[in-house]
């Protein structure tokens, strides 16, 4: 699992900071999460292959999370894409994109499939053999979802050494891989668990931006491997959170702690602060480890 942060600053694109967009690589998928203005340029800059993106998840329809999407969809067309592109986002996103394409008489020549979201409860929105994606309803000024990306548990793998030790014949290996118990030379049953190895722990990634402090997300993201949680403000500006429906770094840390996350990544910083390390310092008083998103930063969480 690998995360490439294309942009993680609040409000408007600037010369050296970009609005929210991330690429999550998980089990051979390249999921694009949010698409602020300039995302397609960031994708080029960080050499993300456009053709590997088949699913785009949009948290909400504020400009700094969404205004790069019409351009990216158009560029896919110019690049000669023919594969399906799936867009997951709040109800209204289809009308908005469709209108822009219609006005430019620039319909895509690849299938563009919208999955419009409007539930206020967590829901499963994507599933294949190896991965699921669920919404994490957030509390913001407009209808907003975070997203929880989860690897499925892999099958147990054959422990060849153990099989030999127990004298289990090679002809049984396929059945054992599929979950069957083994039989040793003397005809005794050997339980499957003794002949197989635990699969690697499935990883998960929760993207929670934009949101005010919201404990109702805890059951959904409990024990998450990596939690990306917005921290637009520091506690010194906590009074702005109520009106803007954003969080402080400390609040993000409290959510990470209560969710029993393995790692907290902060992002969506207001540009009013001189250094983003203040966010880390504030969060670390509550929870560890904390890391800071930054434009172009890559987090590799291993296989």
């Amino acid at each position: 699992m690998k995360l490439t942060v294309l942009g993680c600053y609040a409000a408007t694109p600037r010369t050296f900071t970009n609005p929210t967009s991330q690429v999550l690589e998980i089990k051979n998928h390249l999921f694009l999460i949010d698409c602020g203005e300039g995302t397609q340029v960031q994708l080029r800059k960080y050499k993300v292959k456009f053709s590997r993106i088949n699913h785009i998840f949009i948290s909400h329809l504020h400009g700094d999370h969404f205004f790069g999407l019409p351009g990216l969809i158009s560029t896919f067309r110019l690049l000669g894409r023919d594969k399906e592109l799936h867009i997951y986002g709040p109800k209204g996103i289809k009308q908005a994109i469709t209108l822009f394409l219609k006005l430019g008489d620039s319909w895509t020549n690849y299938p563009l499939i919208f999955h419009e979201l409007e539930s206020k409860e967590p829901e499963l929105i994507f599933e294949d053999e190896k991965v699921t994606v669920r919404t994490v309803p957030l509390i913001h000024r407009v209808y907003t979802n975070g997203f929880l990306f989860q690897e499925k548990e892999s099958p147990r793998t054959l422990d060849v050494e153990a099989a030999r030790k127990f004298g289990v014949d090679r002809s049984q290996f396929n059945n054992i891989k599929n979950g069957a118990d083994g039989v040793d030379k003397s005809g005794q049953k050997v339980p499957n668990k003794k002949l197989t190895l635990d699969p690697p722990e499935p990883k998960s990634y929760a993207f929670c931006s934009d949101t005010m402090y919201n404990e109702t997300i805890l059951p959904t993201i409990q024990n998450v491997t990596v939690l990306y949680h917005e921290s637009t403000f520091l506690e010194s500006e906590v009074h702005l959170c109520e009106k803007t429906k954003h969080s402080t770094a400390m609040q993000a840390a409290q959510i990470a702690q209560k969710a029993n996350a393995k790692l907290l990544i902060l992002g969506h910083y207001s540009t009013r602060y001189k250094s983003i390390r203040f966010f880390k310092e504030e969060a670390e008083a509550i929870f560890a480890p904390v890391d800071l998103a930054d434009d172009g930063k890559v987090f590799d969480f291993g296989d």
Copy 2:
């Protein structure tokens, strides 16, 4: 009159090239012409004051001329703008922008005034004491206008030295400035023309992008000071012009010649070519002088 090119490359924003957007400074106005994705970042980079932009002209609703507009409008709001903003563009632009603002529940707190265009004939769309703006209907894949920005003729200025020479009394100066003839000491009439100086030649700027070769624009742009004309292709790719409704550098030069322009600026280059100097070379076989637009380039045409 001064032109700042923010972006002048065709199709999609890339790491080092930007889609179409320009700022024309003319008689204390700062007119923004087209607004491809990333325009607001380019405005910051080249230190154009956001607060001086009150009029935005959009040629057509293809992404590379328009997808930066929703973000710029949102950023004006975040910057606390309260002045009117006027948007001139093809019919449909109001619906598109309004839908984006509605979906983000992000209405502007300044007046946003749309002037939707649908005429296929040139029309006067802006006028004040010093400047006029007219549409220049172009031929492209969707409804498209170029724009002709013209300074009005300034009043003649008093020639104090001539007045002294003719013995015209100071008490008559105001009337002479307003066009009256003078009277010398002997009571003889002195024609206004002899007591005043010619005003500077009014300047004009025609923005013609995107378009195929189109002689019907010639009466509108005749004798223009500066003609910006698209040259997406070189003559080696002239066969692409019919389908895409674009021009070659040679065709742009032919229009400049027939319009009796003082200067031709080329732009809207396809990124297929290794160097933009090929466009200049091709155009100069037909017309001179030719200059090349490039991102960040500033053209100063004097007062």
